[in-house]
């Protein structure tokens, strides 16, 4: 059977150095010069890039890892869900042909590789920094030859602006702005109030969590993973243990799976309610904000009664969960959830029919299906553009999401705007409450084991863990050293990382008043996006924003995104 799959993939790509099947993934070793050709083949087949990353193998050089998702592609390889292409490159000349010039999905990832490891993707269309400051000079960014002089006295530049440009003014929204709670800058160029150009810069959080997890062992890593994001902490925990359990290849007791599903869905409900409140606040509707956050508080109470904590659950364990749910709590929680569902559905009707809310959200932040597909949107952002993509069905995490056991459906909407994204999230809350009620039904009626013993030595050398976080697909990749069972590298790709890259595209043509709405509508979580260290320096530089903005527009046009 595995030979059959390998033969079929050889028809598509015959030049691989080594073909291997491990679990649901097909691992192919390739030459680094062919990475862009492979990307072309895979993108043409309709595959989606999960993540592109690189690992420092110390004396052996670098390893470039490209993970493709083929669940929505035009190839069927039985149970294979992901194809991993690996290429080794030397440290003397760390270069490979860029994938970013073929698809937008790879641009941010390649910038990250460039900043983290100093590998140069040749032909990367946007070579500006993503996480380091723009002014950050060599050695990472080789284009900038001279370090600009520091002018302490501050001789102000004379304004020399052509009349055509005088109508336009550049407005930085961020790094710290009341509309966006976390740190990021969105530069918008406005004519009156209409946006003509937009650009995004992230990298204002400073944590380096991936490096911290590497030195910490499998069991302790999950607590750190939960702390990547305060809102989708449950999703991060589940994705981490899914990845770790794939390494060990163990079976988890059924009751633990139900508890995991229950918590992941409660997490989704509270995240979506929080999002609804944030959008209500952004469009100036304080009442909606107060009400949805009041409902969210009840969900947090349920979570607290189950796990003992409100935000970071701390019950995820490799091989199960650490705490059981008593029958009493299950029955009480079920009653509370049913009440909440009733109240929420009433409120949802009010919100979706409110004329002012409609006027603020409809036709704002347009993202067509094709743009979402090419740009690699995930989660409710993609589903709001009519793309039926959901990790829970395509590539489920280690929890109960089998549609024959638990009845649930993927919610999509064809509206392609902020309103459609709101509808998707509101419907998802209702679907999630259904899942929660079914889980609580099971948990209140039966009992059983909640944790199995873990083998001491992992049975695989690398593994992927995916989970559908409230914001979209969450990707974990772990790799071990070849001769001992310690973690060599962990890579995390969060959903906002993908969706944020599409913000400039959605902003153009909007009104300035819509900027916070568009930014809010993808439910961005910047704490997730920035996991990399930034270094402060005292250099001040007067940048020509015009060039930077034009560059991004030109690149988008080249990719057919505009």
């Amino acid at each position: 059977m595995s030979e059959n799959i390998i033969n079929r993939i050889k028809e598509i790509y015959p030049n691989g150095l080594e073909y291997k099947i491990s679990g649901n993934w097909l691992i192919i070793k390739v030459k680094p010069e062919e990475l862009d050709k492979i990307a072309k083949i895979m993108i043409n087949l309709g595959a989606r890039i999960n993540h592109i990353t690189a690992i420092d193998l110390e004396t052996k050089g670098f390893e470039i890892i490209n993970v493709y998702d083929i669940t929505h592609a035009n190839i069927s390889l039985d149970n294979i869900t992901n194809i991993i292409f690996k290429a080794n490159i030397s440290k003397i000349k760390p270069e490979y042909p860029s994938i970013g010039k073929i698809t937008w999905q790879a641009v941010w990832a390649e910038k990250e590789i460039k900043e983290l490891l100093g590998i140069n993707p040749i032909g990367l269309p946007d070579s500006r920094h993503q996480f380091l400051p723009y002014e950050w000079p060599n050695p990472v960014e080789s284009e900038l030859k001279e370090i600009p002089e520091v002018n302490i006295n501050g001789n102000y530049l004379q304004l020399k602006m052509p009349i055509k440009e005088a109508y336009q003014s550049l407005i930085p929204i961020g790094p710290y702005h009341p509309g966006v709670i976390e740190g990021q800058v969105v530069y918008v160029k406005v004519e009156g109030e209409e946006i003509v150009a937009a650009d995004i810069k992230t990298g204002f959080h400073h944590r380096g969590i991936m490096k911290l997890i590497e030195n910490r062992g499998y069991n302790r890593g999950v607590f750190l993973a939960e702390r990547i994001c305060g809102v989708c902490s449950g999703a991060h925990g589940l994705a981490y243990i899914t990845c770790a359990e794939n390494l060990f290849d163990i079976e988890i007791p059924e009751r633990a799976l139900y508890i995991r599903t229950l918590l992941a869905e409660l997490n989704r409900i509270h995240s979506h309610l929080l999002w609804l409140g944030v959008v209500a606040d952004v469009i100036g509707w304080k009442t909606g904000f107060m009400y949805t956050w009041g409902l969210r508080e009840r969900i947090l109470d349920i979570i607290e009664s189950i796990t003992g904590n409100r935000i970071t659950y701390g019950i995820w364990r490799i091989g199960g969960v650490s705490r059981d749910i008593s029958q009493e709590i299950a029955i009480k929680a079920k009653r509370a959830i049913e009440e909440l569902k009733e109240e929420f559905s009433k409120m949802a009707l009010e919100i979706t029919n409110h004329p002012v809310i409609k006027s603020r959200l409809i036709n704002v932040g347009k993202l067509t299906y094709q743009q979402a597909f090419n740009g690699g949107a995930v989660g409710p952002t993609a589903r709001g553009s009519g793309w039926k993509i959901d990790v829970r069905k395509d590539n489920p995490p280690h929890a109960i999401y089998d549609q024959s056991i638990i009845s649930w459906e993927i919610v999509t909407d064809e509206g392609c705007d902020s309103y459609a994204r709101m509808i998707v999230r509101i419907k998802e809350v209702l679907v999630s409450t259904d899942i929660v009620i079914q889980c609580l039904d099971y948990l209140s009626k039966r009992s059983g084991e909640i944790r199995t013993k873990v083998k001491e030595v992992p049975s695989r050398i690398e593994a992927i863990g995916l989970n559908e976080a409230p914001r979209g697909e969450l990707f974990y990749y772990m790799k071990l050293y070849e001769n001992n069972n310690l973690l060599q590298a962990i890579r995390i790709r969060t959903p906002s990382y993908r969706n944020n890259a599409l913000i400039p595209l959605m902003l153009i043509g909007c009104n300035l008043a819509d900027v916070p709405v568009v930014m809010g509508s993808i439910d961005q979580c910047l704490a997730c996006t920035d996991r990399i260290e930034i270094i402060r320096n005292n250099h001040r530089e007067i940048m020509s924003w015009k060039d930077l903005v034009n560059l991004s527009i030109k690149m988008s046009k080249k990719k057919g995104l505009l």
Binding site: I171, E193, W285, K286, T287, M290, L512, A513
Partner: protein, 309 residues
């Protein structure tokens, strides 16, 4: 003469009370507590018995803060316009009758004087921020000016349709003439303009903090911001007193009846304003202008018909 001295305190405390009420009503409608009417017993020694004058405490706090004047601003205009705005708003209280007390409203052309004073106060709320040189203030001011134009339109039409139909330019005379249909239609027109002028919720886009930080007041701090807050206290009183005295027959009643009626009607108006404030998200400036033009043109037509009748 004593009335003129008394009205300063009355208008100030009523303005504070109204802005407290807007805060309290909207807090209660949003499942919050808001400023307390009776302070908790154990906190009374620190916080005082009541927090009804919370808006005043906010202003006092601002007066104790450092005032920052930005380098890029036109300093004279930046500093003086809050004071000029306050003077305009403050002066207009003398020309508006307060529940059967004419004050200065029986002098000739008092309706013209009041409308000029109110426009002037709002105008200097726009001019000061322009001088501050902040891009956020520019956008806020742009929105404020657009809204000001449409709201002013309905304000003027409503006032002068009353003046024409009652055949007088003296507020006291207009207010003591008999109540008829034009009072209702012109009153509605005035109410729509008050929504825009007091930044009640669908029309608070000039102060939309999620979009443009603090809007026009981004660069204002300390005493200067406190002066603007004080101006708003007087403006709330101005608009509500003007509305009640012109469009209701309250000034024909004896004084012991008209003062409680004045309070009841004004609290009722504040309550309606709070409900509108709570139920609506904020409009984009474009939508707000379209809404205003639609509503005003319909109301104006009705108003003309009422005038003819």
């Amino acid at each position: 003469m004593i009335e003129l001295l008394l009205i300063i305190f009355i208008s100030f405390f009523l303005g504070l009370f109204y802005s407290f009420l807007i805060r309290k009503f909207s807090a209660r409608l949003q499942w919050r507590i808001g400023p307390l009417i009776f302070m908790y017993k154990d906190l009374r020694s620190i916080m005082g018995i009541t927090r009804i004058i919370q808006p005043l405490y906010d202003i006092i706090k601002l007066f104790g803060k450092r005032t920052i004047i930005p380098e890029s601003s036109r300093k004279r205009l930046f500093i003086y316009s809050p004071y000029i705005s306050l003077i305009f708003a403050f002066t207009s209280i003398f020309f508006i009758p307060f529940s059967s007390i004419p004050l200065l409203s029986n002098i000739p052309y008092s309706i013209v004087i009041v409308s000029y004073l109110l426009i002037g106060s709002l105008l200097f709320m726009i001019i000061g921020p322009i001088a501050s040189g902040s891009p956020w203030a520019f956008i806020g001011v742009r929105r404020e000016a657009e809204l000001f134009l449409v709201a002013e339109f309905s304000f003027i039409i409503s006032l002068f349709s009353m003046a024409i139909s009652k055949n007088s330019l003296i507020i006291w005379e207009i207010s003591t003439k008999e109540f008829n249909l034009i009072n209702i239609t012109a009153g509605l027109l005035m109410f729509t303009s008050i929504l825009g002028k007091l930044h009640i919720k669908p029309f608070d886009m000039s102060e939309a903090e999620a979009e443009i930080v603090a809007g026009p007041y981004t660069e204002y701090s300390g005493k200067l911001l406190g002066i603007y807050y004080l101006t708003k206290i007087f403006l709330i009183y101005d608009f509500i007193a003007l509305f009640i005295s012109i469009f209701t027959p309250i000034n024909t009643l004896p004084i012991y009846l008209s003062i409680p009626l004045f309070l009841i009607i004004s609290i009722f108006i504040i309550f309606i304003l709070s409900i509108i404030h709570v139920l609506n998200p904020r409009y984009r400036i474009k939508n707000a202008l379209i809404w205003y033009i639609k509503i005003i043109s319909i109301l104006c037509l009705i108003n003309i018909i009422a005038m003819v009748i």
